[in-house]
Structures are given as structure tokens and as C-alpha cells.
Amino acid sequence: MPHTIIEKLWNSHVVEEQPGAPVLLFIDLHLVHEVTSPQAFQGLRERGLRVRRPDLTIATADHSIPTTDRSLPIVDQIAARQLDQLETNCADFGIRCLGVHSSRQGIVHVIGPELGLTQPGMTVVCGDSHTATHGAFGALAFGIGTSEVENVLASQCLLQRKSKTFEVRVEGTLCRGVSAKDIILALIAKIGVGGGTGCVFEYTGSAIRALDMEERMTVCNMSIEGGARGGLIAPDDTTFGYLCGRPHAPKGAAWDAALARWRQLPTDGGAAYDREVTIDAGALEPMITYGTNPGMGMPINAPLPDPAEVSDPMARDSITKALAYMGLEGGKPLAGHSIDVVFIGSCTNSRISDLRAAASVLKGRKVNPKLRVLVVPGSQEVKRQAIAEGLPDIFLAAGCEWRDAGCSMCIAMNGDQLAPGEYSVSTSNRNFEGRQGKGGRTFLASPLTAAASAITGVVTDVRTLL
């Protein structure tokens, strides 16, 4: 019987299946960070348990870490305590921690792939909903809560029910100025923030195959914003090319054996999905969100939705409430709307190719002087590479701030935040009320769109600057 890659990954990780109970699923890689783990370690202590597989577990500090000078003490004492707690917990339980001062520190979903820890055929979990990022390698990767973090630390297993399979087929060729971020924003606008609930996406089609690994990570990263637990892409030569030579990738004969295994992973011809949707890549335009959830997105030159034209009362209320929070008027254009901040970073768009894309627009130009523009690399490795390529010089010459690696203004836990009422074009993944700072108002877009808007000071279609 033909199987999808999702089913193959599931089947190869079943430890046990007892009647009446969910499947016990083995986890190949567990990523840990400071925010969702302290209570899990506390739980282990209370039960007198150890970490079963430190060799399959790795920690880093990303969410509450400052992106300013790391040689200075951390000003926020609560954040400092949480970061200390991570180091203590990892030391106590024998887990490798790429902490505040590590040369490998970075956003958890940036460093896993970069170190070659994320590999095809794996199950990957983390106490973070953007874990689907790792699905770009043909891994079954999903976010979990703190109780599940404790379960995995203690047993390396999770109790899970099988998700439905959902094929997202993206065919055609992206136009100039349109990127991976626009594909995923278009998908979420089409199916809504609950559209993939209960499902794992498999992204297929010629437009997906044409993406490089970092672009694939951008797409998979926001699967949760479409409601899906996970989202993945079958591995191919692009995947293998990215992995080859990474610190934790297999070497020599082990590499050949792994390649042979990985080539068996793609979905079999004739395998059926529970659900399907198709997107025409050639018809996509740069996307932007206007509202207070990632499903409230549209092509950048479209008019804002008019609540008066929405028939369902609760849906109408949602749009009315969102537009009121955002200080926008239905029916009007969003392009040209004044902004205060641009944020280039996050687990969605902080990798070297994202920074290169932003730099390609900013090179030789100046950002609008009324704006604050933050460029935040995803990891120390991305930062080093950017420096080697001279990208910080371009950002600084343009008038941007070049900061240290972390989640930063995506989640606004570390002091990098919008002031109440401020507007931001952000390359991150969530535009919920207050997400980037209490009262802050977020337009989600690609690094190209963010860079273009940084120059003009208003929401801008990057194609006018190319």
C-alpha cells in the first residue's frame, strides 16, 4: 500500500500501540529552551527522574535573551534568573547547553538545522510551536507543551494520536519580489488560522522543489499559523546538499547509508491525503497581513476588507475588532500606510539568505530617518557569516541596528518591543494583539518587503524598488 511521507515517519517511530491508548512515539531530537522547560525540570526533580537520553537533547537560550552587548550583565533580573535556571538545569541533568555565551547560541529552530542535528526521517519536538520548521528536512516535527517536555525528558517518548495528512501543492514559478514567506502567508490567508487543525501539511509541487533549504524552513515554520501541528517537505538533493558536511551530519560510510535511507522517505506514487489544497505560485504577489491573526493577510496592493461586506456576524466582528486595534479603515489601501519600526529576524526569517535578501534592497540606500530598523540574526553562526560577507556594514550604513542573535521583537520578551500604538513591518510569524509589545501593531511580510518599507517609511511593494 502506498504511503505518504507523514505516514512513513509515523510508522517508523511507533514504540508501542496498546488498545485504548494513543501510540507511544519515539523522539529522535528534543530541543530545549529557557521559557518552556523550567517547570518540566522541576517535575523531574519532584518525581526523582533523570533525563533518559541526554544524547538526543540539546538546549539553547533564545526567547528572553538580550540582543544587546552580551558582555554586560542582563538588566532584566527575571530574565537573568530564567537563563541561569536553564544553565543549572542542563548541568544538573547532563544536557549540552548552547547558552548565553556559547559561540553556537541561537534561535532553537535556526541552530538545529545549522548544526546538522535536524535530519530527514527524524521525529523532532520542542516546547515551541514553530518546531515545524524542522519539517523542511523531511522530519516529523511539532511543538509540545511543558508537560510533554517533561514526558520526553523522562522517557524520550510521547503519547500521540495520528494527525490527518494535508497536501499543500504549490505549482509554478514565483515572480520577482515574491518569496517563500509570501507562499506561506498566502496559504494561511486562504485556509485561515484554524484551517489545518488536526493535520500535518506536506508541501509539494514544483515551486516547493525550487526553494532552497532556508526558504523551505520559512514555509514549514508557519505551518502552526495555519493550525497544523506540523508541516514538512520530502527530502531531495537540495536537502542532502545542505546537510553534507554539517557538524552532526553523518560522515563517510554512514553518510552513504543515511542517503540510501533518506531516499526512501518521499511519498509513494498513488498515496492518498485526507485533504488537499493547491496554490498557483506564478499568481502570487508580495503578501502582507493587516489584522490581528496571521490569516488576516492579502496581496500588498489589495484594499483592506470592508466588514460591511462580511455576512457572518462573528467573522464580521473579528474583522471590525482587528481593524479597530490596528487603527485601519476597511476598504482603504494598506500600501503607503506609515510605519514606525521594521523588524528583520525571528525563526521564520533570520537566516543568512534572509539577511542577504534584506541587504540586497538596503545596499546603497538609507532607511527613512523616522524609523527604527532592527536586524537580528538567528544565531551566532548566521552573525559570523553575515560579518564575513560584509552585511552588517550595509545595514549600519543604511541606518539599521545590527543586533545579537535571539527571538527578539518577534515575541518581545527581552526588551526589544514596540511602544503602544506603533506600527511595524515584521518578518516574524505572529501579528496577535500585543505580540511585539503591548499595544503594538504588526504587519507581517517578507524580508524584501520589510527592507523596502524601511527605506520609504511606509508599507511598500518591493517591486517598485527592484
Partner: protein
């Protein structure tokens, strides 16, 4: 965990779709390293003004909420992040169940592990409950987990789905980890036949 028992409660209506976990508890409060003290942070940015004073028009600040244990919310409740602080804050405030037409996957899993029952009802029952509580703020529902039924203020019994294993754990007051640790032999057998492709400590 205490065994989950049947109960009757008034409803706290929050007629908003897609309530995300950043609204349930904003991220800036996630720097805590314990589970305690989250009740006062529940819906913080809707509940308090810029000076930290309770907004009288927000439902959680109204006297009618005292003692109510069921939140009645719009579609797709709990979307967004994986933070288990969301069900911790809800249960510490006093909620034992949330009613919606649907819930985000991670929120569902997190809630069931914290004795917070996510009750997904069909749209007609959902609308009936909002109408009932609009007509009478003291309108109450009865929740019977064993029977998987919710009885509306009008006396209509509505069935709701729940994972059989999660239901067992809730009714017995036990958590998953105890069960998982009993599967030691199976885990060991799996590990023996599946050499790890990586070593993070290397």
C-alpha cells in the same frame, strides 16, 4: 491531579473567534520559572488598562464571574503558541472547562494534562449557549465527563468528543507520564533496534 468530577456552573461568555495564547497570557509573563501566580495575569491586556487598573467592561472584572467555572469562547480557541501557561492561568483563575466550536491542537493537549476540559460543541449548540447567557447571566450548564455530555440551560443534552485515554486520565486523576514509564521494556526494545543517528553531546 484530582479526579475530574461532574459539575454545574454559570458561563463566562467571551464572544471572540481565534482567541490566541498571547491574549490568554502575554509572552512577557513567561519569564517565570514556576507554574504559580498566573491567575492574575489571565487575559492581562484585555483585563487591565495601561495603568494596571481593571477595565470594568471586561467580563473577568465583573461580579457575575465569581464562582463561574466555564468559559464560553468563539471558534478556534487557544491558537498560537505552545505555552502551557495558558491552561495554568485558566485553571488557577478557576476555570474547569472551555466551550468552543473548535480548539487548537496544542492547546487541547495542554489543557487535558491540566484538568481543563476543552468542550467542542456544534455551531447550533454554541449559538444556543451564547443566546442563553445573553438572556440570563445566571444561565448554567451541567458537565458530565463520563457521559461526555453538556446540558444546556434549556435542558438539552449535547454530546462532545474527547480522546478516550485523556478521559480515563482525567476521571482517574492520573497523568500520562506514569503510564509512559510503565512501557520501559518497549522503549528499551525500540532503542536497541534503532541506533541514534546523532549524539548531541559529541
Amino acid at each position: 491531579m484530582k479526579p475530574f468530577t461532574n459539575f454545574r456552573s454559570r458561563l463566562v461568555p467571551l464572544a471572540i473567534n481565534n482567541i490566541d495564547t498571547d491574549q490568554i497570557i502575554p509572552a512577557r509573563f513567561l519569564k517565570t520559572t514556576t507554574k504559580q501566580g498566573l491567575d492574575r495575569l489571565l487575559f492581562n491586556d484585555w483585563r487591565y488598562d495601561a495603568e494596571g487598573r481593571p477595565r470594568p467592561d471586561f467580563i473577568l472584572n465583573q461580579p457575575r464571574v465569581a464562582g463561574a467555572q466555564v468559559l464560553l469562547a468563539g471558534d478556534n480557541f487557544g491558537c498560537g503558541s505552545s505555552r502551557e501557561h495558558a491552561p495554568w492561568a485558566l485553571t488557577q483563575f478557576g476555570f474547569r472547562a472551555v466551550i468552543s466550536t473548535s480548539f487548537a491542537d496544542i492547546f487541547t493537549g495542554n489543557s487535558l494534562k491540566n484538568s481543563l476540559l476543552p468542550i467542542a460543541v456544534p455551531p447550533d449548540a454554541h449559538a444556543e449557549l451564547f443566546a442563553a447567557v445573553a438572556a440570563n447571566p445566571d444561565a448554567a450548564v451541567e458537565i458530565d465527563l463520563a457521559a461526555q455530555t453538556l446540558t444546556t440551560p434549556a435542558g438539552r443534552r449535547v454530546s462532545f468528543p474527547i480522546d478516550a485515554f485523556a478521559k480515563h486520565c482525567l476521571l482517574e486523576g492520573v497523568d500520562e507520564l506514569g503510564y509512559i514509564l510503565q512501557q520501559e521494556a518497549a522503549i528499551r526494545a525500540y532503542e536497541a533496534s534503532h541506533p541514534a543517528p546523532i549524539d548531541t553531546t559529541a
